[in-house]
């Protein structure tokens, strides 16, 4: 039996959603490792892009920043932000984007800006960065979060990035370039979205978790299909590759987000 941490499971799971040949916004942290793992396994032709301006990147050491020089050597072009977020992303050329969030609602809308009321915030979070741009314009969005009931809310404190907004037709109303969130991956389970209602729906539970565990740990009524499979475990090969990519455990060593 393969032994793995929650973080390793999350990364392996996310990596399986990257398809060969896709243009992927990698960022840093767990999403970056997921994209790199995909490139090393089933998607060698995935084109890894960093919003700071690096295109077709093959970093030999894990970058700490989207602008880290570790992204530079071996990439095929190093340009800038209008290139990546403008020409590529807004131009409709990015297949997959990854985002994390402090809060998510049942339509996959995300908060990365404030906890507490906007007028007098309790905590100022990092904000959008390129997050809203990616959520608006990437063809598909993959959300990665540590599972905590307080993060799966009925009403966001602040909506930073658009998911499916108020439901069917919402994204079309605002002429959005991208398709919105496709999958939400936590260290407990995977969600997808009901094609009709655009509401979040349980997709699979990770080994050791039950459907009830998940239902009790979101703050809205969760759609649950009749058949909920167990998520596929990572292989030893995937774990080994992850640790080769991040030998110092910069991202693998840290749990959660």
């Amino acid at each position: 039996m393969v032994e793995y941490t929650k973080t390793e499971f999350l990364i392996a799971c996310a990596s399986s959603h990257v398809r060969n040949g896709e243009n992927v916004f990698g960022g840093t942290g767990m999403p970056l490792l997921a994209a790199l793992l995909a490139k090393e396994t089933h998607a060698p032709k995935a084109n890894l892009i960093s919003e700071a301006g690096f295109i077709d990147a093959r970093p030999r050491a894990v970058p700490l920043s989207v602008a880290d020089s570790r992204y530079y050597y071996g990439c095929s072009a190093a340009i800038g932000l209008i290139e990546t977020l403008g020409f590529l992303l807004q131009g409709g050329r990015i297949d997959v984007g990854f985002l994390g969030a402090a809060q998510i609602d049942e339509y996959g809308n995300l908060n990365t800006s404030y906890i507490g009321p906007y007028e007098k915030p309790k905590v100022k979070l990092p904000g959008s960065g390129g997050g809203n741009d990616i959520a608006s314009s990437a063809k598909r969005l993959i959300v990665m979060m540590s599972h905590d009931k307080r993060k799966f809310v009925k009403d966001l404190d602040y909506m930073t990035s658009p998911g499916h907004l108020e439901g069917p037709g919402s994204r079309e109303k605002w002429s959005m370039v991208g398709g919105g969130p496709e999958v939400v991956i936590t260290d407990w389970c995977q969600f997808d979205f009901d094609p009709t209602s655009k509401r979040i729906r349980l997709m699979s539970v990770h080994p050791g978790f039950s459907v009830d565990d998940i239902k009790e740990n979101v703050m809205f009524d969760l759609m649950v299909p009749d058949d909920v499979p167990i998520t596929k475990e990572p292989s030893q090969e995937q774990i080994d590759i992850m640790h080769r990519l991040d030998p110092k455990g910069i991202y693998l060593g840290k749990g959660g987000e």
Partner: protein, 304 residues
């Protein structure tokens, strides 16, 4: 052809900061860990500037310094955190105290605002932010934060952001000649449009090069001298952040900074020790230690 006399635009860091009056607006260059004008933020703090408005996408430690020291009271930005380390505690505290106001945009929105300013048009359209609280809520710009309209050509919804032509653009580059032709290695981030939108442009550079070198490889010039008002040349301007082909980030110092910024008391200690307690940038570098700095020198072909 007669040899034209080359204008020498070099000034000191202290002279450059002196030009910035209280209440000024500044486009702030660099992106993430790359080419952050940290030395300039130190000097603004030492000169006790007040009420500055900073416009940028995602600067990190420099925004923390200016918020923590009370130099800046308004930020129009997309992102505040120290990537891979965590939240920006100074900004978080100043926001909770109500002494720092942050108007939230996205990275693309800020880059478009600089591009609009550089192009001398009043606004730029983009396809982000619509449908979210970024449209509905404003900290202080009110109706002037952005507008969502029906496109007059297609009828589709489109978001308009106001262009920026702030008092200054501050951009950090690798090399410059004394007339201001500036070369950037690696990614440019938002600095192409950012350098061209300010009413005055001050270029900070790691190294002075000859005009001959510029003219030998003119494609390397990312900011032609005609845009540049002043040039400041100093080593390790971005420390503890990185400068591609010159030096890596100083992770140990970054972690120290992040730890000390966590509480007000330890932040005041950092401020006193590393910024207010030194006379100038060289004293800061002496304090960091040249042996430490040499260890950060970039190696070929990696650039870090």
């Amino acid at each position: 052809m007669t040899e034209a006399e080359i204008e020498d635009k070099r000034i000191t860091l202290a002279e450059a900061a002196k030009m910035v009056p209280d209440g000024a607006g500044i486009m702030w260059g660099g992106f993430g860990f790359q080419r952050a004008p940290v030395a300039f933020s130190h000097e603004l703090v030492r000169q006790k500037k007040r009420d500055l408005t900073i416009y940028t996408c995602g600067s990190e430690i420099d925004l923390e310094i200016m918020a923590g020291a009370g130099v800046a009271t308004r930020y129009e930005i997309a992102f505040s955190a120290i990537e891979a380390l965590g939240l920006s505690y100074n900004i978080r505290r100043r926001v909770s105290e109500g002494v720092l106001q942050v108007e939230d945009y996205t990275n693309l929105a800020m880059a478009m605002r600089f591009l609009g300013g550089a192009l001398n048009v009043p606004f730029m359209p983009l396809r982000s932010m619509m449908g979210t609280d970024m449209v509905r809520l404003s900290r202080y710009r009110g109706d002037d934060k952005l507008k969502v309209i029906d496109c007059p050509f297609t009828g589709d919804k489109i978001c308009l952001v106001p262009s920026l032509q702030p008092d200054f653009s501050i951009v950090h580059v690798q090399r410059v000649d004394m007339s201001g032709n500036a070369q950037i290695d690696g990614i440019v981030g938002e600095d192409i449009e950012g350098s061209r939108c300010g009413k005055k442009l001050i270029v900070l550079a790691e190294e002075l090069i000859d005009e001959d070198e510029v003219r030998h490889r003119p494609d390397q010039t990312k900011i032609p001298a005609m845009y540049v008002d002043h040039v400041v040349i100093l080593p390790y301007i971005a420390h503890p952040m990185m400068c591609h082909d010159y030096y890596d980030y100083d992770l140990e110092h970054l972690m120290l900074f992040h730890k000390m910024s966590r509480e007000e008391e330890t932040w005041q200690e950092y401020l006193e020790n590393y910024i207010l307690g030194v006379e100038n940038h060289y004293e800061y570098l002496n304090l960091i230690g040249w042996a430490n700095l040499n260890k950060l020198r970039a190696r070929k072909p990696w650039g870090y």
